[in-house]
C-alpha cells in the first residue's frame, strides 16, 4: 500500500485494554459485517487493566440489590456521579460478569460452584467478584483471547495515535505512527472509540503503569471535546513506598488492618470505628479510598507514621489472616511484597502509603459512551460518564470498563452502519498536515530541553500543589509551573532520529499529553472552591452544593484549559452529608 493511502475500517478503537477489547467484541457481535480495528501503543495484553487486583463489583446475590449498589456508588462519589448513568451501570453489571464468565474468566468460586464475592471499601454488601488477587490480569487475558476468535477484529499493535482526523465536524479516523517503521499513516473509520485508560503518570508516585499518560484524553481534548471532572484524582491508601506498587484493597476486604507506628488501628480516630476484629462493611479499613488516604496524612501530621528511606508509611498488617488465607485469596500481594520489599506478609506487616491510583475524570461522554464530537466515543478510565463522581469505589472500575466498553461498541456499531465513509481527499490532506506538525515539534526536535527534566518538574509540581490536600496558593503555583513547562516543551531536543521503534519519540508524545492533562487537573482543582471526594481543599474544607454540585468541563485553548460547568443528574438520591 502506498504511504499516502489510508487504512480503512468501520470502527477504530484506540486502546486494547479491558474497555477497548470489550468494545471490539461488542461491535463484532452487533454486526459481523463491520471491519473493526484495535490500535494500541502496546500489545493488548500489556495494557494496564492487567495490573488491577481486587475485583469487579456487581449484584449477584439475593442479599444484595441494584438500588444498594447504586446508592453505595453515588454516596461514594460524594453525589457527583450522574445517577441515571449509575443506574444503567448497576443494571448491566451482572450480565457483563456472567458474559465474561462464559468467555472463560477464571473467577474464584464458592464450594457450590457459584462465582464468589468479597467485601470491598465503601460497599454495604459483599459484591466484588474476583479471580484471587489478579482479577484485572485474568479479565484482560480472557477478553484478549476471546477477541482473537473474531476475524472482523484486526489489530494495530504498537501504533501510537497522534491526532484525531476530523472532517465536516465528524471524526473520520486518526493519524498514527507505526512504531515498527516510523511511518505516519491515516487509519479511517466511521466511528472511533477511545479506551486508553487513565493518566496517573502525571504524578510521580503512582500505581499506574508507565503507559498511563493520558494520550487518548488529549486526542479528544485537542479536537475540542471537553475533559470532565479532571480535578478528581484518586489516591489509593495502600501502595508500596518507593515503587508505588499496589497492595490491593482486597487485603483489607479479607480482613487486613492499617496500623500506625504505635501499632494502633488509627482509623477509629476519624469516625470510621468502632474497631472490630473482622471486617464490617464501610467501617474502619473498609472505608472509602479518599477518606483513608486523608487519614494517613492526618496521622503523618500527628507524627504517628513511620519514616523510611522512601518517606512516611504505615503498616498494612495481614499476619492474623494466616498463610492459608493469604495464599488462597491474596497470592499476588505475597508475591509482590516478597519480591519488592523483601519481607513475607505472613510474618511481617507491609509498609504502605497513599499513592495516585485512578483518574475519575476523563473524556466527557453520555450514557451511550458518546462524546460531543460526532462519531467519537470513549469508555473505561479514559472516559467520564460519570459513575465515579468525586471518588470511585474500589471494584467499580473493572465493571465500568465492561459495561461502558460494551455500550460504546454497540453504539459505535449502530452509528457506523449509518454514517458516511470518510472522504479520501481531505483525509490525505489532514494526515500530511499532521506529519509536518510531528516532524516540526517532535521527530526532528533539536532544542536543548530534555524530556526527563520537564517530566520531573511536572511530577514535582503536581505532587506539591495538586496532591491529597490542596489550596489556592499551591495550585496557582502548580498551574504557573505547568505553563512554563508547556513553553519549555517547545524547545525539547531528541537524540534519536531512527524511525524504527523510537521510544524517545513515544516519550515525547506522552509528555506532550501529560502536560495537557496535568494542566486540566490543576486548573479544575484551583477553580473548584470546595472539598468533595478526592478534592480536599484546606482553604475550602466543606462541600458546597450550592456552587459546585456540578461537573467541571475543561476545554482546550492555546492559553491552557478553559473551565465550564454542567449540571449533575440527580434521580432518586438527593444529596446528603457523606458520613460512614
Amino acid at each position: 500500500m502506498a504511504a499516502d493511502e489510508a487504512y480503512v475500517h468501520d470502527i477504530l478503537i484506540i486502546g486494547g485494554g479491558g474497555a477497548g477489547l470489550r468494545a471490539a467484541i461488542a461491535a463484532a457481535t452487533t454486526s459481523s459485517r463491520l471491519s473493526i480495528a484495535v490500535l494500541s501503543k502496546v500489545y493488548p495484553m500489556r495494557s494496564h487493566t492487567v495490573s488491577a487486583e481486587g475485583g469487579a463489583a456487581a449484584v449477584m446475590r439475593d442479599d444484595d440489590s441494584l438500588d444498594t449498589h447504586a446508592k453505595d456508588t453515588i454516596f461514594g462519589s460524594d453525589f457527583l456521579a450522574d445517577q441515571d448513568a449509575v443506574e444503567v451501570f448497576v443494571n448491566e453489571a451482572p450480565g457483563e460478569m456472567i458474559q465474561i464468565e462464559h468467555w472463560g474468566c477464571p473467577w474464584s468460586r464458592d464450594p457450590d460452584g457459584r462465582v464468589a464475592v468479597r467485601p470491598f471499601g465503601g460497599m454495604t454488601v459483599d459484591r466484588t467478584l474476583y479471580a484471587a488477587d489478579k482479577t484485572g490480569f485474568h479479565m484482560l487475558h480472557t477478553l484478549f483471547q476471546t477477541s482473537l476468535k473474531y476475524d472482523s477484529i484486526v489489530r494495530y499493535d504498537e501504533w501510537f495515535a497522534t491526532s484525531l482526523l476530523v472532517e465536516d465536524g465528524r471524526v473520520a479516523g486518526v493519524a498514527a505512527i507505526n512504531l515498527h517503521n516510523g511511518e505516519v499513516r491515516a487509519i479511517t473509520a466511521k466511528a472511533v472509540i477511545i479506551c486508553t485508560g487513565g493518566a496517573g503518570r502525571v504524578f510521580p508516585f503512582t500505581t499506574n503503569a508507565a503507559i498511563k499518560t493520558g494520550d487518548g484524553m488529549t486526542l479528544a481534548y485537542r479536537a475540542g471535546v471537553p475533559l470532565k471532572d479532571m480535578e478528581f484524582m484518586q489516591y489509593h491508601p495502600t501502595g508500596l513506598p518507593g515503587t508505588g506498587i499496589l497492595m490491593t484493597e482486597a487485603s483489607r476486604g479479607e480482613g487486613g488492618y492499617l496500623k500506625n507506628k504505635d501499632g494502633y488501628r488509627y482509623l477509629q480516630d476519624y469516625g470510621l470505628g468502632p474497631e472490630t476484629s473482622t471486617p464490617v462493611h464501610r467501617k474502619m479499613e473498609l472505608g472509602p479510598r479518599d477518606i483513608l488516604s486523608r487519614c494517613h496524612m492526618q496521622e503523618l501530621a500527628k507524627g504517628r507514621t513511620f519514616e523510611g528511606p522512601d518517606g512516611h508509611y504505615v503498616h498494612l498488617d495481614l499476619r492474623h489472616l494466616g498463610e492459608k488465607v493469604i495464599d488462597k485469596k491474596l497470592p499476588f500481594v505475597r508475591e509482590l511484597v516478597r519480591n519488592y520489599v523483601g519481607i513475607d506478609p505472613v510474618y511481617e506487616p507491609i509498609p504502605v502509603r497513599p499513592v495516585i491510583h485512578y483518574t475519575m475524570g476523563g473524556i466527557s461522554t453520555d450514557i451511550e459512551a458518546r462524546t460531543p464530537l460526532a462519531g467519537l466515543y470513549a469508555a473505561g478510565e479514559a472516559a467520564c460518564v460519570s459513575i465515579n463522581g468525586a471518588n470511585r469505589l474500589g471494584s467499580n472500575s473493572l465493571t465500568e470498563l465492561l459495561v461502558f466498553g460494551a455500550r460504546a461498541g454497540r453504539a459505535a456499531a449502530r452509528a457506523a452502519q449509518e454514517a458516511p465513509a470518510p472522504k479520501s481527499n481531505p483525509i490525505a490532506q489532514l494526515v500530511s498536515d499532521e506529519r509536518r506538525r510531528l516532524e516540526r515539534r517532535i521527530l526532528k526536535a533539536d532544542g536543548r530541553e530534555r524530556i526527563a527534566d520537564i517530566r520531573e518538574t511536572m511530577h514535582k509540581a503536581m505532587e506539591e500543589g495538586a496532591g491529597i490536600y490542596r489550596d489556592r496558593a499551591g495550585l496557582e503555583k502548580t498551574c504557573q509551573t505547568l505553563r512554563e513547562l508547556r513553553e519549555r516543551f517547545d524547545r525539547i531536543g531528541l537524540a534519536d532520529r531512527d524511525p524504527v521503534f523510537n521510544t524517545e519519540v513515544v516519550a515525547a508524545l506522552e509528555l506532550d499529553s501529560m502536560l495537557d492533562v496535568a494542566a486540566a487537573v490543576a486548573q479544575g482543582a484551583l477553580l473548584r472552591e470546595e472539598s468533595r471526594g478526592a478534592q480536599a481543599r484546606t482553604d475550602f474544607p466543606k462541600r458546597d452544593d450550592a456552587r459546585f454540585l456540578k461537573h467541571s468541563l475543561a476545554y482546550h485553548t492555546p492559553d491552557g484549559p478553559r473551565i465550564e460547568y454542567a449540571p449533575v443528574t440527580i434521580t432518586r438520591w438527593p444529596p446528603e452529608e457523606r458520613k460512614y
Partner: protein, 249 residues
C-alpha cells in the same frame, strides 16, 4: 546520589544498519532497591535517549520487559541489581527471537501461534447470558488455574532449546494455554486444539528439558502442560474420533 555504581553491558543492534549486534557499557548509580529496568530507565533518561526497550507495569504482570540478564531470561522489573553485584550486568534481547532494535524483539511468531491454539472457550452451543453463570467448583478451577497464569512474557521461548532448533515448534506458552482451555470444565474445544498440538512441530518435539518451567516467573509449568498433553493426545485420539464433542457436565 549514592557514590556506588554498577556497570551494565547492553546490546545495541539495529538490523538493516548494523552488521551485527554490539555491546555498549553504561555505568549507573547502584541502589540496592533498583531492578535492572530502573537502571535502563536511568540510562534512557540521563545518558542515552536512543536506547530501545519495552516496559510498562514494573510489577511483573504486564510481561513487557523480558530480556536476557547475564544470559538468563528474566523480567527486568523483577531482576534486582543487588543479585548481580558487583557486575557488570549483561543485558541482551531475549534469545531465539528476531530483534527489532536493541532490546526489543519481534512477537509476530508468538502472536500467530497463540491464535492457532484457539485460546478461547469453544462450546457446541453458547449458553445465553440470561441463563446465568456456569457452575464451576473450586476443584474444577484448580485443575486449570495454574495454566491460566501465563503473562505472555516470552521467557519460556527464550529458554527453550527445541524452539531454538525448530522455530516451527508451537512452544511452551501457547501449548500451556491450549492445555488450560482443554482442562476448563466449561470448554468443549479439545478436538479443535488437539491437531495443532499434535502436528509434527507440536508438543512431540519437546524433549522435556523443562527449561521453560524453570524460567517462568508465574509458576505456570509449561513443561508439565506439554507432557500431559502428550499423554492426553495419545489416550484421547480414539475417543475423539468416536465422540467429537467431548461430553462434560
Amino acid at each position: 546520589m549514592p557514590d556506588e555504581t554498577i556497570t551494565l553491558e547492553v546490546t545495541r543492534y539495529r538490523p538493516g544498519h548494523d552488521r551485527e549486534p554490539r555491546s555498549q557499557s553504561f555505568t549507573v548509580p547502584y541502589r540496592k532497591d533498583w531492578v535492572v529496568l530502573d537502571a535502563l530507565n536511568y540510562i534512557k533518561d540521563r545518558i542515552d535517549g536512543t536506547l530501545s526497550y519495552r516496559w510498562s507495569c514494573r510489577m511483573g504482570v504486564c510481561g513487557s520487559c523480558g530480556m536476557m540478564v547475564n544470559g538468563v531470561p528474566k523480567l527486568t522489573c523483577a531482576a534486582f541489581l543487588r543479585d548481580f553485584q558487583p557486575g557488570p550486568v549483561r543485558v541482551e534481547p531475549l534469545a531465539n527471537f528476531p530483534v527489532v532494535r536493541d532490546l526489543v524483539i519481534s512477537l509476530d511468531d508468538f502472536m500467530e501461534k497463540l491464535l492457532r491454539v484457539k485460546p478461547w472457550i469453544i462450546r457446541q452451543t453458547e449458553k445465553p447470558v440470561a441463563e446465568g453463570e456456569h457452575r464451576q467448583t473450586p476443584a474444577q478451577l484448580e485443575v486449570f488455574k495454574q495454566f491460566s497464569m501465563c503473562i505472555n512474557c516470552m521467557l519460556c521461548y527464550a529458554a527453550c532449546p527445541v524452539y531454538a532448533m525448530h522455530p516451527g515448534f508451537i512452544g511452551p506458552a501457547a501449548a500451556a494455554l491450549a492445555y488450560r482451555y482443554n482442562l476448563d470444565s466449561r470448554d468443549e474445544g479439545y478436538r479443535f486444539r488437539e491437531p495443532v498440538l499434535n502436528d509434527s512441530v507440536g508438543v512431540w518435539e519437546c524433549t522435556f528439558i523443562g527449561e521453560c518451567s524453570v524460567v517462568c516467573p508465574k509458576g505456570v509449568d509449561p513443561a508439565a502442560a506439554i507432557q500431559r498433553s502428550k499423554v492426553a493426545g495419545a489416550q484421547d485420539w480414539a475417543k475423539s474420533m468416536l465422540m467429537p464433542w467431548r461430553g462434560r457436565s
